[in-house]
Symmetry: C2
Subunit: 323 residues, 2 copies
């Protein structure tokens, strides 16, 4: 059945039923003019939008994973503040001839990600458009938030996980012919389709005050490091040989470093650490797969240092909308 | 200049500068992974989306007024809960070849509505799409929220303002040729283009506990009254002769009552009042232009009562997406 046959009100009432788990912090949930929740004194607010053919292709993106990603990219922003997510609102515009099963799978994915992170869907809005557009807003609590602006010369720069996998996964999906490439591409495809927000790591870093600045890598290391440097009024040096690259990326990309630097959509955490905290962070490095990739400098420029110790400017070459 | 020439980062930094008024309740504003605000214990959350060619046409909708409306439709939801709005987040997807001046005017309108309501823009996201899509999320405070579910048989039904003007204004805009129709159409056009959220009225009703149920009329009286009846488990009778219709609507519409009942986009408040509170509400009727249009009944059906006292079912014939 298509959405226009089902009708807006039935769509909403199905979503409402699927998300009606009781929670003591939700005084009024889906179904009134606004939701009413018990909020913490220090409230995080963040919003992200996903647009068909810009951020995803309907033909290749499983709706269940898209539902997970629509929430998880927001949760990654909460993780980057060292926060704990609480509530979500979702606005969607969809074509009237979209199959209802698509939306059902999307919402099932959204719900699975929400349950994992203990997030409650409390409101939303639906409209019609030629392209699918998804807007998600998330609230959170941050007792000791980590901003982008606290980095200081001498701090070390860390990232979680490996970089560039999602960008290569996206490329492989665009090229098609995945079956010929075999199982080895799976971790790359998954990194793009189903990124994992680093909520536990972000919260731990915040609680133990390990980072002087933190951001999630959504636009690519080069762009997001530039954000930290700009907001903190500092520069940086990144050692090319230290940038964490997965074996799958090495195998399937001709220039894995370029993807790791500029690829985007990794949703890993990038953070800076004062020298006094280095030992503590290093102790976490096995549990969370953390890698020191460089250091913060007094100048305002960002350099990439090669294995020959030569420095070249690291240009922010990430993804931009409005092309 | 077009957005794709200006570039995403410059667009964001302009918006950030335009909305950088200091407020003691904003600990971290635009420019980090998430905003951090001081929140009230009871927090309202609501979100609304507007889609080009579905909710507005770019060719006829002044961008400044669209910016006002994008915020004000959300503020109307806050008003319907009897709340006070606090913060806003905005997600926008726009074509890359959109003129930057369009966005500047849109944001100027958004800002003017935000200032009127003392709302702070604290975050957002931008993407690219073929149609303009705007998603706004608003937080608010509600010390004594009014839900949709408290109506009881015997309550009287009130609306603020006049109904159907916005729907007729929309029709006139679609038809074109406004100049020939003269000045008389202006209130109708304005009702559609620049609706006013009833924040003061909603807050007063909540503070003085005058309403047993309340909703804003966004989908049309028939639909929104049905929402109250459904959530409250009651029915209603609306007297056709009492439905408030403006002189402009009478002049320019062949069936003003149908528009007033089903038109939508009025953003007036619809609320139910216990008999004991009637005198108090009537005293407010001049200041806020309130009209008693009917009463809540024990059955679950909604009737329209004609001047001949004949009853007919009032069908919920409002606007529905997914066509």
């Amino acid at each position: 059945m298509r959405l226009k046959e089902l009708g807006e009100r039935r769509v909403i009432s199905r979503i409402r039923r699927a998300f009606s788990e009781p929670r003591t912090d939700i005084l009024i949930g889906i179904g009134d003019d606004a939701a009413l929740v018990k909020a913490p004194r220090s409230l995080l607010l963040t919003t992200d939008i996903l647009v068909e053919d810009e951020d995803f292709r309907r033909a290749v993106y499983p709706p269940r994973l898209l539902g997970r990603k629509a929430l998880n990219v927001n949760l990654s922003d909460i993780a980057a503040m060292g926060g704990r997510p609480l509530h979500a609102l979702v606005g969607m515009a969809m074509p009237g001839d979209l199959e209802e099963i698509w939306l059902r799978k999307f919402m099932a994915g959204f719900r699975s990600a929400a349950r994992e992170a203990k997030v409650a869907l409390v409101g939303g809005d639906l409209s019609q458009a030629d392209q699918i557009m998804i807007s998600v807003t998330v609230t959170g609590e941050a007792k000791s938030p980590v901003t982008r602006s606290g980095a200081r010369a001498g701090d070390r720069i860390f990232v979680s996980g490996t970089l560039g996998d999602a960008a290569q996964g996206f490329r492989l999906l665009e090229e098609g012919g995945l079956q010929e490439k075999g199982r080895g591409v799976r971790p790359l495809i998954r990194a793009f389709l189903d990124p994992v927000p680093q909520l536990e790591l972000g919260a731990l870093i915040a609680r133990r005050k390990l980072a002087s600045a933190m951001i999630d890598i959504s636009d690519g290391l080069s762009v997001d490091l530039a954000h930290i440097c700009e907001e903190s009024g500092v520069g940086a040096e990144v050692e090319a040989s230290r940038v964490p690259i997965s074996s799958a990326l090495r195998r399937f990309s001709k220039d894995p470093l370029a993807l790791a630097l500029n690829g985007g959509e990794d949703f890993e955490l990038l953070f800076t650490v004062r020298p006094a905290k280095l030992a503590t962070v290093r102790k976490l490095s096995s549990r969370f797969k953390l890698t020191m990739i460089g250091r913060v400098t007094a100048g305002k420029k960002i350099f990439l240092v090669g294995s020959d110790k030569k420095k070249e400017p690291l240009r922010a070459g990430g993804f931009e909308h409005f092309r």
